[in-house]
């Protein structure tokens, strides 16, 4: 059943990438526990606007856990501490009356802060542009059933492909590594016959781009997979390492 709680928020405010940021504290009263976390922030922003103050900038769009736009660090965890959940799917019923909630942006060298809780994740797009595709033009392709793909392989590729590109993995990693993101795409395409032809080049090019963009190295701490809202697993990283090694050996 719905009830209301009072909470205190410590929210990171930062004008832009060059300006120093700071925490500001806000008290919110009578928040319905049925509200989502982002709806709670909407309520705060409405209050701020009515007081003629600058609302808090944060990214969001679909609000159903799939677009990957929302990106809040809540009480020390990307998307909050609940497992396999995005910020927009977190609801206020998970909080207690009187809770103090700390909200920060993704903190990662490759994701500079744009304003407040909004960061620049275009580095992920650039990694995709370096090889996250099968080189096939529109038209002139074989019938969809021409190549049989065993169900377990197709299912595994689907699990890898479920990455939403939110950046929680790199934000959670103490090294700021994007290995889970990169490995998910490399795995999906390396598993499928359509992507095999370019598998080696893809692994090399995407990893090179990741390094170039300032992401850190992977030391297998596993924080990325633990915090991934879509449960993308560490086995993807193992597969990327294999693909990468094979590619290097062939050079």
């Amino acid at each position: 059943m719905a009830k209301s709680i009072n909470i205190t928020l410590n929210i990171w405010r930062q004008k832009d990438a060059k300006t120093k940021g700071h925490f500001e504290t806000y008290a919110l009263k009578d928040i319905s526990t049925n509200a989502s976390f982002l709806e709670m922030l909407d309520i705060l922003n409405e209050q701020l606007v009515k007081e003629h103050k600058e609302p808090i900038a944060f990214d969001h769009d679909c609000r159903e856990g799939i677009c990957g736009m929302c990106s809040l660090y809540i009480n020390g965890h990307p998307h909050g501490w609940e497992t396999e959940i995005t910020t927009c799917q977190l609801h206020m019923r998970k909080f207690k009356d009187g809770d103090v909630i700390t909200i920060e942006p993704w903190r990662s060298r490759a994701f500079p802060v744009i304003r407040d809780l909004m960061v620049d994740r275009s580095a992920y797009d650039k990694i995709m542009q370096a090889g996250g595709f099968v080189s096939v033009n529109t038209g002139g392709v074989p019938d969809a059933n021409a190549i049989a793909i065993p169900k377990p392989i197709a299912d595994e590729a689907m699990d890898s492909a479920s990455c939403i590109g939110c950046g929680a993995c790199a934000a959670a990693c103490k090294n700021g590594s994007a290995m889970l993101f990169v490995s998910a795409k490399v795995s999906q395409l390396a598993l499928l016959p359509q992507g095999k032809a370019e598998a080696a080049a893809r692994a090399k090019n995407m990893v090179a781009k990741m390094d170039e963009l300032g992401f850190g190295n992977c030391t297998n701490t596993g924080a990325c997979a633990a915090e991934c809202p879509k449960g993308v697993s560490l086995t993807n990283i193992a597969r990327l390492n294999r693909e990468f090694l094979c590619a290097k050996l062939k050079d």
Binding site: A35, E39, H52, C62, A144, I147, A154, M158, Q194
Partner: protein, 647 residues
Amino acid sequence: MATIDSKIPKGPLAEKWTRYKNTQKLVNPANKRRLDIIVIGTGLAGASAAATLGELGFNVINFCMQDSPRRAHSIAAQGGINAAKNYQNDGDSIYRLYYDTIKGGDYRAREANVYRLAEVSNNIIDQCVAQGVPFAREYGGTLANRSFGGAQVSRTFYAKGQTGQQLLLGAYSALSRQIAKGTVKEYNRREVLDIVIIDGRARGVIVRNMLNGKIERYAAHAVVMATGGYGNAYFLSTNAMHSNGSVAMQAYRKGAYFANPCYAQIHPTCIPVHGDYQSKLTLMSESLRNDGRIWVPKKKEDAEAIRAGKLKPTDIKEEDRDYYLERRYPAFGNLVPRDVASRAAKERCDAGFGVAPSGLAVYLDFSEAINRLGRKAIEAKYGNLFQMYEKIENENPYETPMKIYPAIHYTMGGIWVDYELQTSVPGLFAIGEANFSDHGANRLGASALMQGLADGYFVLPYTIQNYLSDQIQVPRFSTDCAEFDEAEKAVEDKIKKIMAVQGDKTVDDLHKELGHIMWEYVGMARTKESLTLAIEKIKALREDFWKHVYVPGKAEDLNIELGKALRLIDFFDIGELMARDGLNRNESCGGHFRTEFQTEEGEALRQDEEYSYVSCWHYKGEGVEPEMLKEPLDYEETERKTRNYKN
């Protein structure tokens, strides 16, 4: 009065597209390099069009509002994509997909466009598989299918409950490849605020950089809008927070006809509204109706007890449940089209049988399927949807039925296009949900993904060449001209005017008010009175906006409230246009249900003699009533029947 030329090719329906392709004009590779095309949007239609045009050798300039093209709202489509592959050997064909779509659209779609859509549907599946889209497969390794509403065959391809995501990521990866090659220039976090017309042709856009508020200009030989639907006029919808109808309204104000604005789809299976703080509604995929059974209590006292929290749905005995879709529509049962299922839910709730504290919900029950197939099988098919439901409702749908209610989901109406997907403004094209052509008055499930990708991969890249073939002598444009100056000034003046109000209402306050008007008076059941009232109320609300809106901060800065205000102004105009169109259409068809026009059994009653046409609204200036033009829907192959999903 302007006449409407839909440029439908001559010849038998099944040969029109082939004939068109055989005789259309093309642009040779050397000339393609000299031609620039602006594509607005990166959803299924926009991303597939931008990628394909880039592959062909055109210079593409592509815009999206989000931080990455991968975030467009196509990503949220769950259930699947239709195609006439007939892999299941269950009697499917191109003709049958075409027929189901025309019938599903209540005979208000353009025959030739729908046939072409069915024809290219098979290419889409081939293309996506080649890109590495991980569709669901059978143990033998072939592609799996499931059923969707309005069809008696299994023609829906899917990737778990994330089909839209996988198809969009396929198109996004193709787009990424072209960005790397330099054929596509991508501009993120940009909002298109006007379309620039030079000598009667679309030649560019005025754009607001959402990061710093700077106004930018871009020129091209043609402009393609792939900007989705306008369902957020209702404030609460299944659309993403940023989905909007602003580019459509700019096109309309520049002379592009707005077609059938009143056709909005209300999806039957959404998670019900629970508070005034609510920001959006979440869809539960139609695919759930493959295994879920929809019911409400048979007895009013049971419904009342459930609403009061004294009874649980699992307490209601089998014989006391009313599976009203199975009762009313034995042939299609729970898989009737969306408009039919939505109205039936509203009918039960209005009659006092609704559940949830609000009384505005019905049950979608999986217990029978779980008993029959086992929990594991259900989890494999719908696991992510069940998880999504549990996160929002805090109830476990494996143990208790889901509560669902209809919500605004998709808009079949949109910018009018001819057979070539060109609007009534030369050089301006509209694809995907942004145009009107393929779904008539109601869209079938799993057909939006099909249409977006059909337009972007396989239709526009052909038809746009027919337009561009006589543009090869036109040199690249400079944005340094009077037309761009004028358009930019108009945009800046509008922004200044908004910033100057400094009133006492937030943009969301006003948008919520608009949403209430739309849902109450232009919603699932409309009357002459309600629509007339809606027009008056929207006019008053628009005045209220210009007197009372408050937008903080500066215009030349990252300003989220300003962006929302700009979009809301356009939603006022769309809302009014929807009501006006609904008022004109004295019939019920598909998603447009006029209470005055129904059968004794409460089904939609079309008036084919009078209304077998597309209503095309032509802008005549601010505050002036628009002119309505008619495109007659002359069917060559299809016989118009009353839709029957009973037997």
